[in-house]
């Protein structure tokens, strides 16, 4: 079985702020990490590899040259092969253009049985690239997966929805977006780290991927960000402190009753 995992390097979003003067993102000094949900997708692939001997796991990312860091991390954890799709032609891609570009890179690989994504990336939070790549590849896609079992070329998947979950069956190949609760991602092994250290990763360019240049980057992206701004600050209300809990609790209940809220 061949499993492709798509991963993204993202800024650690708890640290991202806007420069109020220039209205641009302040990314300086913000740590770059592997998108946390993608770690769960990778872990799902590695666990399937352990269960199904002979499985090969290829990790694909699209990004600037420094995205190589998360590919090395993936090799450290047990990925067999990696692809860094990197070219200035991809700059400014929205989810439409990104999903196209990724699909061309995957198209250059041995035909995958399973293509895994994290549920969404924590910078854009769109959850659109996984389903998008699946369309370009002509595959079905199950979103919000928390468990998978594979037997005889068929996958049984648990898909979460707002109130519960569904058990689904699908013939391979198929794509999946994976939830955090699917597993606990492993750390890189010592042996893996050694392998990662030796790794020389030659980027795959747009030309090498065979992508149609008319479908790449900002120009091919249907969406445009026209403005970014900080969310408006909320005005807080009253704050009670330094009194007995019973007193504050009683005052709150009195207030809520007065306003006929309870």
């Amino acid at each position: 079985m061949h499993i492709v995992v798509c991963v993204k390097q993202v800024p650690n979003t708890t640290q991202v702020r806007i420069n109020p003067e220039t209205n641009t993102l302040i990314r300086d000094g913000v740590e770059s990490i592997m998108n946390p949900f993608d770690e769960n997708a990778l872990e799902m692939a590695l666990q399937l590899k352990e269960k199904h001997p002979g499985t090969k796991v290829t990790v694909v990312t699209m990004g600037p040259p420094q995205a190589v860091d998360i590919l090395k991390e993936a090799v450290g954890r047990g990925a067999d092969a990696v692809v860094l799709l990197s070219d200035r032609a991809f700059a400014g891609s929205d989810t439409w253009a990104t999903s196209y570009a990724l699909s061309t890179a995957i198209g250059k690989l041995e035909k995958p049985d399973l293509v895994l994504f994290g549920k969404q990336a924590i910078d854009g939070d769109t959850a659109q690239v996984g389903p998008g790549v699946a369309v370009w590849l002509g595959m079905p896609c199950i979103t919000y997966a928390r468990a998978i079992e594979i037997a005889d070329g068929e996958a049984t998947v648990e898909r979460l929805y707002e109130d519960g979950y569904e058990k689904l069956a699908v013939s391979l190949p198929c794509a999946l977006t994976v939830l955090k609760e699917a597993n606990v991602p492993r750390m890189a092994s010592l042996r893996g780290k050694m392998a990662a250290k030796k790794l020389v990763i030659e980027p795959m360019t747009a030309e090498m991927s065979g992508a149609d240049p008319a479908k790449l980057g900002l120009n091919a992206s249907p969406t445009r960000v026209v403005k970014i701004f900080s969310p408006p600050p909320k005005a807080g209300g009253v704050k009670w402190q330094g009194e007995e809990p019973e007193v504050m609790a009683q005052r709150l209940v009195d207030l809520l009753r007065e306003r006929k809220l309870v």
Binding site: W96, A127, Q128, G132, V226, I228, P231, G236, K239
Partner: protein, 396 residues
């Protein structure tokens, strides 16, 4: 866009003919090779199944696209139903959609997909739709992304709406992302504000990014329809007008059998109050400290007459409570009458999911916790003392 057939490559296998939702393809009598008629909507369903790559879609260039955009008119809302129940977000989107459609001077339509769901049309008219497009087909009985996307893409290509809104739910986000690729349109995820630029006929789509630290306003200048998924609970439905009616357009599509099969559906919230629609929510955060301490919150919920239990990401990630309870950027968005946050610090990614609640009450022992910034009433104190005291006072 137009379908191109390379007759030199075509082997006459007929795979594409069976797949066309519109019956636009046939095999020529003389050599069995494929032919296309004017019923073709360039949906691309056949392109994927051709084993020899004889079928392609010609993508028009951008200027031609801008000209084509002029042909697109009207605002659509995807009418999400589950097990024959219309979801609240659909009514919310019809409410906001009505405002936007009136500004643009166009019709508001709802798209209803399912099996034996025709009866839901009346409610859509009562909540503001002028038209309802219905695809009623056995392949749509259970939601799976592929047939739902196929049906929606077919309708979009035929009727050309300028904008399409869907709830940012597991269903909406799951299949609309496929539609965007299939119809070559821009899609903005999880919007929390929507407006229109009437002059340019642009949908102004505003959404939180970077975990809620930043808001971004996004437009689709040339591509149509302009598509967005919209977070539940950010817009209010209109008051229904009983007896208000409109035009129901039923589209008979030839849909393939679903490739994903639903074996079983398990409702994990059966015996619990769901935070998504709750009027009262008691939420626990990191300060709750242990799974068994949620009992204190349940007692308070009980004293409030059956409130839902919410949880912050910290509490869910710690494994104290299931993710069905999670409120925030990666959980649910809520808008209850009363939201009581107990031991929740108030990370921005939590605040974006609950800050539009009517009355917010925060209990936290850290007087500098960011949650107090959005709370109408903040109590600085130990939740293990304040929460039981509240429960007691409510029961008095």
């Amino acid at each position: 866009m137009a379908l191109k057939i390379d007759l030199d490559l075509c082997t006459g296998c007929g795979a594409c003919v069976a797949t066309c939702p519109f019956g636009a393809l046939s095999q020529r009598a003389e050599d069995g090779k494929v032919d296309v008629n004017e019923a073709c909507t360039a949906c691309g369903a056949c392109v994927d199944v051709c084993p020899v790559g004889a079928l392609t879609l010609e993508v028009a260039d951008r200027s031609a696209m801008a000209a084509e955009a002029e042909q697109y008119r009207g605002l659509w809302v995807y009418a999400e139903q589950r097990a024959g129940q219309l979801q609240d977000v659909t009514l919310e989107l019809l409410g906001q959609g009505r405002t936007l459609a009136d500004k643009l001077g166009v019709e508001l339509s709802a798209v209803l997909l399912g099996h034996q769901v025709r009866g839901l049309g009346d409610k859509l008219f009562e909540y503001g739709a002028d038209k309802v497009y219905l695809v009623d087909h056995p392949a749509l009985e259970n939601y799976t992304a592929e047939p739902y996307a196929e049906a929606m893409s077919a309708l979009v290509r035929k009727y050309k709406p300028e904008a399409l809104l869907a709830g940012a739910t597991s269903i909406g986000r799951g299949f609309i992302a496929r539609v965007a690729i299939q119809v070559n349109a821009g899609l903005t995820a999880d919007c929390t504000e929507l407006d229109v630029d009437v002059e340019k006929r642009l949908l102004l789509q505003t959404r939180p990014a970077f975990g809620g630290n930043i808001m971004a306003c996004i437009v689709c200048p040339d591509h149509r329809p302009q598509m967005a998924t919209v977070r539940p609970k950010v817009f209010a439905p209109l008051a229904p007008v009983p007896g208000r009616t409109g035009e129901l357009i039923e589209e008979a599509l030839n849909l393939k059998d679903p490739v994903v099969r639903v074996l079983e559906t398990v409702n994990a919230m059966q015996n619990e109050v769901n935070v998504a629609g709750a009027e009262f929510i008691v939420t626990g955060g990191r300060g709750v400290g242990a799974p068994e301490n949620f009992k204190l919150l349940e007692d308070l919920a009980d004293a409030l007459g059956g409130a839902a239990i919410g949880a912050s990401r910290a509490a869910v990630d710690a494994g104290w409570i299931s993710s069905f309870h999670q409120v925030g950027q990666t959980g649910k968005t809520v808008r209850p009458k009363i939201y009581i946050a107990c031991g929740v610090s108030g990370q921005i990614q939590h605040l974006v999911g609950m800050s539009s609640s009517d009355t917010i009450i925060a209990i936290n022992k850290d007087p500098d916790a960011p949650i107090f910034g959005v709370a109408d009433i903040g109590i600085v104190g130990d939740l293990f003392q304040v929460v039981p005291a509240l429960t007691k006072a409510l029961r008095r």
